[in-house]
Each structure stands twice: as C-alpha cells, then as structure tokens.
C-alpha cells in the first residue's frame, strides 16, 4: 500500500503539515498522513554552527517508518546543514525511504522581509516535492520550472512550479504502485 507520512521534526507548525498533506496527495496521487509522533532533533545540533545535521536526522527517522509507509518526509523549522555545505534546504535518501525539508531559509523573515505565510507554504510544497522526488530516484532536472531543478537560492525556488515536468513524472511514475 502506498503512503506518504509526514513527521514533524522540532516545533513544526501543524498548519504547514495540514496544508502540505492534501497538496502532496494531489501531486503524487497517493494518500498522505500526518504522524502524531514528533522527532526531537537536538542530538544532531552542531554547537558552533547552531545548525542541525540533516544526514543524522534522516538516519534517526528510519525508526519512525511504519510497515505500511512508503515514504517518510520530515518537516522542520530548524536550520539544516551537511558538513561540507553552509546549509541545505533539505536532504533525501536517493531512491530511499526518508527525506527532510526545512522552512528556516524559506521564510521571508530570514531575509529581513515581512512574513508571508502563503509564500512560505508554496516554497515548502516545492521543496517537499523536490525531496520526495529524490526518494523516488529522481536527480536534478534541467527544466528550471520543474520542482526537481536544483535551487540553492529562494529566487530559484520561486521560479519553479509545484508540478513535476513530464520527464520527471514519467521517470517516477509507478514507483508508488510497485
């Protein structure tokens, strides 16, 4: 049975997950549920960087995989990093079960701008589709409007759409129903 589960990592706003679930169902055509459990990511905090190591969180998330779950997506308000990069918007296990996205650098406040909840939701959806795409074996797409396009700045995220391009869709199609 195909199922996407959403896991709050740290103090993720319930409204983010609430909005995200139906949108992901619409995009991937599978059921999406929000877990009541919550992952406390303090173990992954780097004291000097004050950032959380996404790779370690992904490893810890394995324990939350339900037998009927197909993909598990963590949502966090915290700033994520991998050792070699200054930050990441998210990380996924390529062709694996777990992925995580962070809203930390998607917020307008991060850039000293007034909050914009709708814009944040939209960016989060794009990044959620992006990381889930990786778990379905997709790599970055050359089409800059496709959510699978590489985007390391919000400007590039804002250029993208929420729907996978035909090529990425065809490649990932059926993964959920194998």
């Amino acid at each position: 049975m195909s199922l996407i589960q959403l896991l709050p990592v740290g103090d993720a706003e319930p409204s983010w997950l609430g909005t995200l679930a139906p949108a992901l169902t619409a995009e991937f055509g599978v059921r999406c549920e929000i877990l009541t459990a919550k992952l406390d990511p303090r173990f992954s905090l780097h004291p000097e960087r004050q950032q959380y190591l996404s790779t370690e969180i992904l490893a810890r998330m394995q324990a939350y995989l339900a037998p009927n779950s197909y993909r598990l997506l963590g949502i966090t308000p915290l700033d994520l990093y991998i050792p070699i990069l200054t930050f990441v918007y998210g990380e996924a296990q390529l062709d694996g079960p777990c992925a995580i996205v962070s809203t930390y650098r998607l917020r307008q406040e991060f850039f000293g701008l007034p909050p914009d909840e709708d814009l944040l939701q939209l960016r989060l959806l794009k990044e959620a589709v992006h990381e889930l795409g990786h778990t379905l074996g997709l790599t970055h797409c050359q089409n800059y409007e496709c959510p699978m396009a590489a985007s390391h700045t919000v400007e590039l995220i804002d250029l993208k759409g929420t729907k996978l391009c035909a090529g990425c869709r065809a490649q990932s199609l059926g993964k959920f129903h194998q």
């Binding site: 990093y81 991998i82 070699i84 390529l94 390391h152 490649q171």
Partner: protein, 450 residues
C-alpha cells in the same frame, strides 16, 4: 538522464566524502570517492574523470602533491582544491600548480554548484575548440616574447599556468621588458580570450580622468561629460582588464579599485547605481609595490588582492643570451615593413649588443635594430650600424649638448646626409633636425655623382 560529468572527491574525512558525494549525485553527476592520494591515483588510472575535488590537508600525500602527480598523468583533469580555511598561500600554490580554483569549506551550495558547472563548461567549450585553441595558442604567445633563457622559460610557464585560471595576475618588471605582451598572452590563454582585453595605462591619466576611464560616468557627471560612458570594467564584459602602471594610482582610486575587485561591482562617476561587472584582472607595475607599501602610498589590502600570482619579467641585461634571438626576430619584422633585404647580423655586432646594458630593455633593443636597419646597406647588419645608438653611452664627460651634437652628426653622416632618413633614425621631425644642424653648422659633404 545522462550524467553531467564524472566527479572524483578526494578527502581523508569519510563524512566529507559521503555528504559531498551524495550531494553531487543528487545534482546529477557521477561521483567517485577516494580517502587517500593512493586510492585516488588508482581510480584515476582505472576510469576517466572530468573533475577532481582534492582536500588540501590529508595525511601522507596531501592535496597539493596529489595535484602535481595528477597533472603529470592527466593534464586535462580539472582540479578544484578544497581547503579548510581561507589561506592565500595554499590557494596560490594550488593555482600555480594549475588548479582551476579553490573552495573554502564549508561551501555555499550555490557557489560550489557554479564553480563546478563553470569548470566543466569551460572544459567542454575547450574540447569543442581544440583546433581553434591550438591556433589561438600559437597567436597567444606574442612573437616579441622571445627567449630561451631560464628566466623567460619561467615566464612562459607562468603564463601557461595562470592563463586558464581566474586568478589575478601581477606582472612586475622594468620599462620595456614586455609587461603588456605578457598580459595579452595571459588573456589569450584564458577562457575569456573570446572577449575583450581592455588596457588602461594608469600612470598616463590624471586621477579624475582615470576614474571615469575605469568606472565610466553618467551624463553631466562633470564638465565635458556630455554622454553616458561605460568604463573599462563594464566594457571588458566577460573579458579581462589590464591595469598597467598600477603603482601610479592615487590612494582614492586604490580604494575604488579594491571595491571592484572585492565586490565585482562598480558605480559610474556621478551615478548611484551599482552595476555588476564580469572581468579578470591583470595588473602590472615597474615600481616596487612593496616599497610603496612601506611608504604608505599603496593600500595593503589592495596589494594582497593583486599579488595573488606574480610574474617577474627579467631585465634584458639579466638574459643576455636571448639578445641574438631577439635581434633576428626584429630584423625579420622590419625587413618586411622596410622592404629592405637585411638577412643577418655580424658576429661582432651581436657581441656588442650582448654587452650593452639596455636600460630601456627589449623596447630599446627593438628601436636600436630598427634604426640600424634604416642606415644599413643591404645584406648584413654590422657593428657600425649600431654605433649611432649605442656609442653615446660610452663617453661620460660630455655635456648633454655635446653628446647630442655628436650623436646627431654621426647619424646624419651615417645616413649619407639624407636628413629625412636621419630624422627617422633620431625619432625627431625633419624641421627640428634641420634647425639643429643649422645650429651645429653642419655642411653636407659633397656626394660624388656616379
């Protein structure tokens, strides 16, 4: 989906290999990792790689040494050095050894993406243009950059090394040693060669003029600014900017220049908008920047920005063995334009030229050959053909006027009384020569008619 390229990551830290490896996989690259130089060399021997990211600090063979070996076995492999801290020294060593670039850990995701993409696309463009590049490389070394001396070989190597990188190059050397030629060669050896090289002689311009030359100006910025004008950094537009006589610029202009080098942004004189500019900087000086630093006449931060990769051009007196080659070259060059059949130069003349001090360096030698050819008969350039240009440096007890008189008369005699020809040799106009000859009481010696 086809791979965007093969990347080899070499780092002794597992976590770096893992996280960077996975990240590049997501980006669509084929990735291999090695935990040591030995592993890396094995992998390089087994399969082709487009690009290698090398950690500079590894136990045993470090990144710099590994890069040196890789360069021998796989000269086409693009190497990017990863360093844990911003160290100009290591960066310079890496660039000198031919690294494409260096990145400081941790990387900004956007920046590393661009660095890798640019490196690969430059290489692809190069591969597509191998032929063209070879043709350009021929042109790339200007014919005047001639020499087989060790000092010049070092210069050629430096050009080949730094040319293809983005590093700022600082060329030092006395006047007339050919600093602009080196700048042109560096530009021609770079991926920016299809764009312009903008040359600015900083010492020749007053401060305000230089500023408008470098940064451009808006209409009405100052009296006479009737039109908006783009400056050098803007017109370079993907090319290079050559700043000659960088030691001559004022502290104020140095401050502005520093900003451009750091931010890659300019503001036109009289304007308030920041404009992004894309250029590679090549600078040259015949003054000692170190001395100017000590005297407080040069900003240290600008000095460090400029002094990333240094090429020192030797004075001609320090490479006398190159004199015969240069003379031959200039003879060929001028015999074409003068339509004169001078094929060679006598042994005695060469000897004399090799022992001269050449305070004006190659440029002075070029002028000397040109003048000798004006006065020479067809055939061979002899010692006497050079006497006009070199002899004056021998007597030290003459007044300037005496020396001038003797020199002018010698030249005119050597030209068989032909004042037009003599004026050319002396590099003065005919009227001036005529007046001087009148003053010195020169009388044309009667020429026998045939």
């Amino acid at each position: 989906m086809s791979s965007k390229g093969n990347i080899l990551i070499v780092d002794d830290e597992l976590i770096v290999r893992d996280s960077l490896g996975r990240w590049f996989c997501d980006e669509g690259y084929e990735v291999g990792t090695a935990g040591s130089a030995r592993e890396a060399l094995n992998l390089v021997a087994q399969q082709p790689w487009d690009l290698a990211l090398l950690d500079i600090k590894m136990p045993g063979t470090d990144g710099i040494e590994l890069q040196r070996r890789l360069r021998e076995i796989k000269p086409n492999l693009i190497v990017i050095i990863m360093t844990g801290y911003a160290s100009v020294d290591t960066a310079v060593t890496a660039l000198k050894n031919g690294a494409y670039d260096y990145v400081v850990k941790p990387f900004d995701p956007d920046e590393i993406t661009h660095t890798v993409q640019n490196a690969l696309s430059h290489r692809r463009a190069e591969q597509e243009n191998v032929r063209l590049r070879e043709a350009v490389a021929e042109v790339a070394r200007p014919p005047e950059l001639i020499g087989q001396s060790t000092a010049m070989k070092r210069v050629f190597e430096a050009i080949v090394t730094v040319g293809p990188t983005e590093a700022t190059a600082l060329i030092t050397g006395e006047s007339g040693t050919g600093k602009e030629l080196v700048a042109r060669a560096i530009h021609a050896a770079s991926p920016r060669k299809y764009n312009r090289l903008v040359v600015i002689h900083c010492g020749a311009l007053a401060e305000t003029l230089l500023e408008s030359e470098l940064f451009g100006h808006e209409k009405g910025a100052f009296t006479g600014a009737q039109y908006r004008r783009k400056g050098s950094f803007e017109t370079a537009d993907g090319g290079s900017v050559f700043l000659d006589e960088i030691g001559d610029i004022s502290l104020k202009t140095q401050t502005d220049l520093l900003r451009v080098l750091q931010e890659r942004e300019i503001t036109r004189v009289g304007g308030n908008q920041s404009i992004h500019v894309d250029f590679r900087c090549i600078a040259a000086t015949n003054k000692s920047l170190e001395k100017l630093l000590e005297e407080g006449l040069f900003r240290p931060d600008l000095y460090y920005r400029l002094n990333v990769f240094r090429i020192e051009l030797p004075p001609l007196r320090d490479r006398r063995e190159d004199v015969p080659l240069l003379v031959e070259h200039f003879i060929r060059k001028f015999s074409g334009s003068m339509n004169k059949r001078v094929g060679s130069v006598s042994r005695e003349a060469v000897d004399k030229l090799q022992h001269y001090g050449w305070p004006g360096n190659v440029r002075e030698l070029e002028n000397a050959v040109e003048r000798a050819m004006v006065v020479a008969q067809e055939g061979e350039l002899g010692e006497k053909d050079f006497s006009l240009t070199l002899a004056s440096s021998e007597s030290a007890d003459q007044t300037l006027e005496e020396a001038e008189r003797a020199h002018i008369l010698r030249v005119v005699e050597a030209c068989g009384g032909n004042q037009t020809q003599a004026a050319t040799v002396l590099d003065i106009d005919r009227v001036t020569l005529h007046n001087k000859l009148k003053k010195y009481g020169w009388k044309r010696t009667p020429v026998e008619s045939p």
